[in-house]
Symmetry: C2
Subunit: 455 residues, 2 copies
């Protein structure tokens, strides 16, 4: 009897069909949903029709004219692109057991949407339409500025040309655009977001997975903000190589705690030094001691407590290897799924962190002081690290990590405190602690999405 997370109650496959004019944030929303669901181990993939079109119409000149509904060449390529994306998606559902596929395109007419609906129904996939509708001029111009700097369609073009051409492209789509209508589309399952989420219309949301996607999308905002992550300062248990427990900081750990306010100010820069932020800690002493010199509002969360090592709590890795040799090996073989006797696995942590992630999406500037395993899971969410890799990431002590979510990537910066600390990184196949060589290093900044475009 396998262990289920709350996300596995149903046996349902969903095709999220994006709907919206260009520059309405469809790709951003698509990518965020894929990242969130993947983090929850729900197999998800985005099929960006713009990428297909670029592959198919390699040699075509891509200016606004290409998107004119009366341009037969453009229409031909664009139809080929959407067909190819849908074929790939259906194959992915069948052959790779996909659960949530996202069709990222404008899908601007009712006739197009009806075709997709029909294909989904023939393949026993639940279609859920997700429209981003927006008439907020400022928001649209902000999105256009993003697109013109990131879209492969405009890499060789001047900024002025890109803006003008893209506005023309939008106009051409507007001429045929049909928004989702609660009356005309009453039979569809859909979410319609009006100006980000100042108004949301939900129609026939029925399955649990659909309701999770709705709740996630509801909580997204687009205000600029930063998130800081830090492990607690070095603890007495770190010095002796013991895991778990509720030890105090070591002398060097206290030095880190005292230095932390300065690191935060440094990361804010002179210009933003008065920025307000909130500090979240776990309920364990070492995180609260680490936060104790920070002049900000503080909140404690049980959900940020370290992975519960159960019977191994308070032991060193060497002791665990002697006492439970088979468990020790099993954990190395599948560290994400391995659950300590009477304790937790990484998967268990992800489930208890889910409300924290939702709250983080809603909040603005937050500094989180937590523990190695929990920090790995949080980092994996923001940086889209596959779950099987996340337990092997090296996240050193006495280092402040700053994440700045951008439209299509997250910027990472690390500020080292220059206070020595033991390494708590255990390489696969050994019980020795030492610096990571093979693990994924946290200094790598991953792009979440390299393309953003409309077909």
């Amino acid at each position: 009897m396998p262990v289920y997370s709350i996300s596995h109650v149903e046996n349902v496959r969903i095709c999220v069909v994006m709907v919206g004019l260009p520059a309405r944030g469809k790709s951003l929303i698509s990518q965020k949903i894929v990242r969130y669901l993947s983090w929850l181990s729900i197999k998800s993939k985005c099929f960006n029709v713009g990428n297909y079109r670029r592959g198919i119409a390699k040699d075509a000149v891509i200016t606004a004219d290409f998107f004119d509904p009366h341009n037969p060449e453009g229409l031909h390529f664009r139809k080929q692109a959407i067909d190819a994306a849908i074929v790939d998606m259906m194959r992915w559902f069948t052959e790779e057991n996909g659960v949530v596929g996202i069709l990222d395109a404008t899908n601007s007419t009712r006739s197009r949407r009806n075709k997709i609906l029909k294909i989904c129904r023939e393949n026993y996939i639940e279609p859920m339409f997700l429209e981003s509708w927006c008439d907020d001029k400022e928001l649209i111009l902000h999105n256009i500025a993003d697109v013109k700097t990131t879209s492969p369609d405009y890499v060789t073009r001047s900024s002025e040309f890109a803006t003008k051409d893209f506005l023309k492209r939008i106009e051409l789509y507007e001429s045929i655009y049909e928004t989702l209508d609660p009356a005309k589309d009453a039979n569809l399952t859909f979410i319609k977001l009006v100006n980000v989420n100042s108004q949301i219309i939900l129609n026939r949301i029925e399955t649990y997975l659909e309701s999770r996607i709705v709740y996630y999308v509801m909580n997204l905002h687009i205000k600029p903000r930063s998130i800081w992550l830090s492990r607690h300062g070095e603890s007495q248990f770190n010095l002796t190589g013991q895991i778990g427990g509720d030890a105090d900081l070591s002398e060097r750990g206290w030095r880190y705690a005292k230095k932390l306010p300065e690191l935060v100010l440094k990361s804010l820069g002179e210009e933003h030094k008065h920025t307000n932020l909130t500090v979240w800690t776990s309920t364990l002493k070492r995180t609260q001691q680490t936060a104790s010199f920070l002049p900000y509002k503080k909140l404690q969360w049980k959900a940020l407590d370290e992975l519960d090592a159960g019977e191994c709590d308070g032991m060193t890795y060497e002791e665990i290897e002697v006492a439970f040799p088979e468990d020790f090996k099993a954990r190395d073989d599948n560290k994400y799924e391995y659950r300590y006797r009477g304790g937790e696995s990484y998967r268990d942590i992800v489930i208890r962190l889910e409300p924290i992630i939702m709250e983080l999406e809603r909040q603005e500037n937050i500094l989180i002081i937590t523990h190695q395993a929990v920090l790995r899971c949080l980092y994996a969410y923001f940086m889209n690290v596959p779950q099987e890799e996340s337990p092997w990431m090296s996240i050193p002590l006495h280092t402040l990590i700053k994440l700045e979510p951008r439209a299509y990537s997250t910027l990472v910066s690390r500020i080292k405190a220059d206070i020595p600390a033991v390494s708590t990184y255990k390489e696969k196949g050994t019980s020795q602690l030492g610096e990571s060589k093979s693990g994924v290093s946290i200094s790598k900044s991953r792009d979440l999405l390299n393309t953003n475009d409309v077909v």
Copy 2:
């Protein structure tokens, strides 16, 4: 630094203003929200204007004519009632630190709603309108059937009279009713439910608490169903009086497991013996062994694991009293908040059970086999038991509890297996186990709401 649950991030007070014609399920929704938020320790209260009106217009004849918008006497009493309810609510916010107050009335005109809006703003309360709009004839007739059997206005009337009179009352309201309109009411924070939740319109949902209420309401359904609760069969640890651990069932525990399928069938009755249900267990052996003879689909949830007793895991209450006398006393003094060293409190369990509750609201027939503390928390949710009482409820072994949620109450039945088991009930102030005398007994069926009416 107090420990915060996810519900305490903001410092916001909300007045949920119900909107809707009679027989649209407003009181049911109001009561469920109050129950859910109270369970999460968010201070909530419903102000039912119908009750105020009955108090004020004690001697008036309450037939449909009373609700005629042209009847000055009726209007006078009804205005007095709503004014009194609002005054009480504002006093409750200020003097009793209320967080979410619900004004349960039809609030059918824009002018009435504007008055409430103004009072809320003057008192720094965020108004959130929640409309239940329904044109599904079957649903309305179903609700009317409920009202006429539960409303104090019709206790002395025949069923025929009640139905006819109530329909007339609805008509009178319809003549002046103004539904929430995304265009006209664009500046309000509101949720509009169309035919339960086949369509939902959300407007300007901004705070975390508002989004929690939205998500909860989104997940409610009104299909009839049952929920069964059982503790695992007697375990080896129960025999020795030890808490926690992951012990196997005792010989008598196995007898309970073998008998459980028969108890479930008995509770279903001959007519429904083929009803399908799903069994949820924790990840601990004793619950899975208890489920092992049940011929239904099974799911394991880490969130259903027993309260983690931390350093006391595996000890008896006598041993805990000797080893940690102060903790032992502190737990008796405030059992809901007391967190075992390195372990959990009841409050911690409630936080991790929240997704389980949400999923239970979505599902139909579910049988949960779990542990004493977890079962107390689940039971407290369904039966509206105050959180300070819930840790002291006596929930004996070898007993199947069946809950049948109804519109304004939950029916409880208990089926005892007639297989002896030790008592695991510890009375306050002692370390001895024995049958509960002072604890709240589970056999008591509490009504969630005794009144349902419109003003």
